[in-house]
Every structure is written in C-alpha cells, then in structure tokens.
Amino acid sequence: MVMVEHWLKTPIGKDEILNLNVGDVVYITGTMITARDEAHVRMLEYFDEGNELPFRIEDVVIYHCGPIIVEDGGKYRTISAGPTTSARMNSLTPKVLERVDRMVIVGKGGMNEEVINALKGKGVYLAYTGGAGALAAQTIKTVRDVYWKDLGMPEAAWVFEVENFGPCIVGIDSKGNSLYKEVEKTVEENFRKILSQP
C-alpha cells in the first residue's frame, strides 16, 4: 500500500474529506474539540430540544479523547491527550452525523457498520495511535475553550488549537471503505486456520 500524505487545515472542506482514502496519512492543523460518551449524549439532548450547539462541529475535528488538563494561573495546559476507544460511541455518532453536512472524527480502534454507512458522502474516521498521549499533547498549542465542564475533566468538550497533529491513518473513508473491516475479515480467516491446526 502506498501511503499518501495530506496536511489539512481546519475548517476542512468537503472536497478534501471526500478525497481521503483508507490507508492515507493525515496531519491536522487548526481546531479540534474533544467529545466522548457524555459529550455525545449532551449533543443529542441539544438536538432533541431543538437547541443550537455552542460550537460548530462541521468546522472542527471531533476528537474521541479524555485529556489530562491542568489549570495554571487561569490558563489551561494539556498534559496528555491520546485517543479513547471510539467503539463506545458507535450508537451515538450516526445520530450526530444526521445533523451535519460534513465531519472529521479522530479516535482509536475503529467504528462499526452503522457509522461506516453514516459517514458515506460526508465524513471520515481517522485513527490516531492509541495511548500516544504525550506525543499528541506536544502538538496541542493552546486550549482555546471548554464546554460542559460539569461533565468532569475526561468528559468535557475541550477546544484545542493543534499544529501538525498526527500521523493519523484514514481508517474509514467517505466511500464506505474501512481498514478495520478488511483487517477483521483477514483475522476471521486466520482464526479459522489456527483452530484447524492440530
């Protein structure tokens, strides 16, 4: 596989999103907002009540991350901020995707068929190396804002300004391709082979 590199700046345009293919490498500069389980639930509450979100998710990258943040003289500083397991958001993400025109998600471990379908024609899922919290924090230049701090440090929506955040691998593209699905297929075949060995 030839790895194509993309250096993207937020807001990432729809054409740029549709242009990404599984296996490509992406570096992001601009704005990312953290959202994990609780923040997704709250986004859906906003939608259900007909309220506008306090941030525009189309213009930023949604990051499945529960960071360690310290408050230093009224300013926030990121200590460690790697990705969290995206599969926990499998049932929530499609409902958020219904409400937006385009979306870039960064997480780890991959997402299911429902999400693959919901991303078609509008979004991508990028894999960032699980556990690489210190590496990620180095690319986070400032913590610009925080929403829903009442959810607690890991679950709040932190707004980061990042520079060359990556390498991210396109795990699911906007055409219904999923690197995880391909790997899963191979793994199932290998599993059967292992079991048939004496």
């Binding site: 790697g82 780890k108 471990g109 699980g130 990620a136």
Partner: protein, 273 residues
C-alpha cells in the same frame, strides 16, 4: 522503621515512574516489533508509540492520558512492624499522586458515575496484600487503563474442555481487535476460582515480557498470526507477550481469565525496610 509518610511518598513516586517511563523489557519488545514489521501502517503506528514513550520520559508527563485505575500490590514481610494502617498510607499516596503526577481522575461511582476527582473511593485504589518472608515491604503499582480492561474476559469452562482453553484465549484477543491499543500483553489466569483466576491473570501482567515459557510462546505465535496488528490496522504484531499463571482448581471447575493489557504495560516497584 517504615513510616506512613515514607509509604505515601513512595506510592507517589511509583505512580510518577510508572506513568512516565515504560519498563525497559517492554520498550525493547516494541523496538523488536518495529524492526520485524514490513507493513507500512504497522511500522508507522509502532514508530508513533516509540516517539511517544520518548516524549513522555523527556517531558516527565504521563505517556497516556488514561492514567488508569490505581492498582497496588503490597508484599508485607512477616517480620515488618508497622505502627500505622498500611491501607491508609497507600490511599494517601494515591490522593497525592492524582494531584502531583498528575493522574486523570478516573475513579467514579459505578452506577451514578459521580466523580470525586481524587481516584479514591470504596475499594479504590484496589490493593492486594500478601504476607511474605522477611522484614521488607515491597510495593508495586499497576495503573490499569480501561480500553484494554473492557475487552478482558473470564469463562468458567467445564473440566472436559481443557482443549478449549487455548481457543478461548485466542478468541478473546480476536474479539478485542484494535480496541485495547495493540500490540497488547495478554495476562492469563487458569485455575483456582472465579475471582482467583482473574487475580492470577492480573498478576501475570507484572512479569517481565521476556520470561515466556514454551506454552506461552506457542500462544503468542498463534495470536500474532491473527493479523490484528498495531492499532488494529493489520500487521504481524498483535501481542508482545502472553503470560500465564496457573493455580489448582476444584475437580468440577476450569476457570480461565484473560486480562488484556495495552502496549503501555506500566508498572513500577520499590522495596522499603
């Protein structure tokens, strides 16, 4: 004589060390894996892990934002005299480590999900105490992340299913896929009881990853032939090690516990006298 203060401060330092510096045996295993991978995505992922380990050590910050649930193993020498409650001193150490390292406040009430922000609560930190020979106190911390803990599993097999033990272990790893941050370390407990097997599986994770015997190496080879790879994106390295601990069980039982650990097999120990 070991003091309350000494124990509390040692716990802080052990968490600082475990969170910021990965043990050398694990780093070496990751470096070996990097050399062996020819899949570019896999190399890229392990490369990022190795750069992350360097960054964490250099900047003295936690290598992963999931600083885990605090778990402590204490080996208490039977000739050691303590004039304080050892549990209280360890709890105090965790309280300080949460502020000073810092650790992410991960411990919440299981049902209300309320977060006290201290990593302290009923049964947390999780402390296992064993009485051993001698007059020393050995403390080991194992901060355990949830991504890998969540895909761990335990099954009560039937005594007639001895041949299914391997299948179960490999199946747990297969089902976990990329979720637990592979390359993983697989801790296995076979035997004793429902809870005992789980404890053995966790204790197995404390072993050096190079200490595998023939059975463990065979399992590792099978697991790596699955092709899950680093980050679940495909490749040769799904696991760095498989570590198995066994204990006798009831004649009618065969408990098997598989505790998955992410590549960040964080652990640190200290001896106090």
């Amino acid at each position: 004589m070991v003091s309350f203060e000494e124990v509390a401060e040692t716990v802080v330092e052990l968490f600082r060390k475990a969170e910021t510096e990965l043990p050398e045996d694990v780093i070496q295993a990751l470096k070996n894996a990097y050399e062996q991978e020819d899949n570019e995505v896999a190399r890229n992922t392990i490369g990022a892990i190795l750069r992350n380990i360097e960054a964490a050590r250099g900047l003295k910050v936690p290598m992963c934002q999931d600083t885990g649930l605090p778990i402590i193993f204490a080996e208490v020498g039977r000739d050691l005299r303590l004039d304080f409650n050892l549990r209280d001193a360890i709890v105090e150490g965790v309280r300080r480590a949460t502020k000073e390292v810092p650790l992410r406040p991960n411990a919440v009430h299981p049902l209300t999900r309320e977060n006290p922000g201290t990593n302290i609560g009923p049964h947390v930190p999780l402390i296992t105490m064993d009485v051993v020979e001698g007059d020393a106190l050995k403390l080991t911390v194992l901060p355990k992340g949830a991504g890998s803990e969540n895909v761990s599993a335990l099954r009560m097999l039937l005594p007639s299913q001895v041949n299914n033990v391997e299948r179960f272990i490999i199946e747990v790893v297969k089902n976990a896929g990329g979720k637990p941050c592979p390359p993983i370390i697989v801790g296995v407990g076979i035997g004793t009881t429902f809870d005992g097997a789980a404890k053995l599986a966790k204790k197995a994770l404390l072993r050096n990853v190079t200490s595998m015997d023939e059975f463990e190496r065979g399992l590792l080879e099978k697991i790596n032939s699955l092709g899950i790879g680093p980050g679940g994106l495909g490749g040769k390295t799904t696991a760095l090690a498989v570590l198995v601990e066994t204990g006798y069980c009831h004649t009618a039982s065969l408990p098997v516990a598989v505790n998955i650990q992410c590549w960040a097999n964080r652990r640190a120990s200290a001896m106090l006298r």
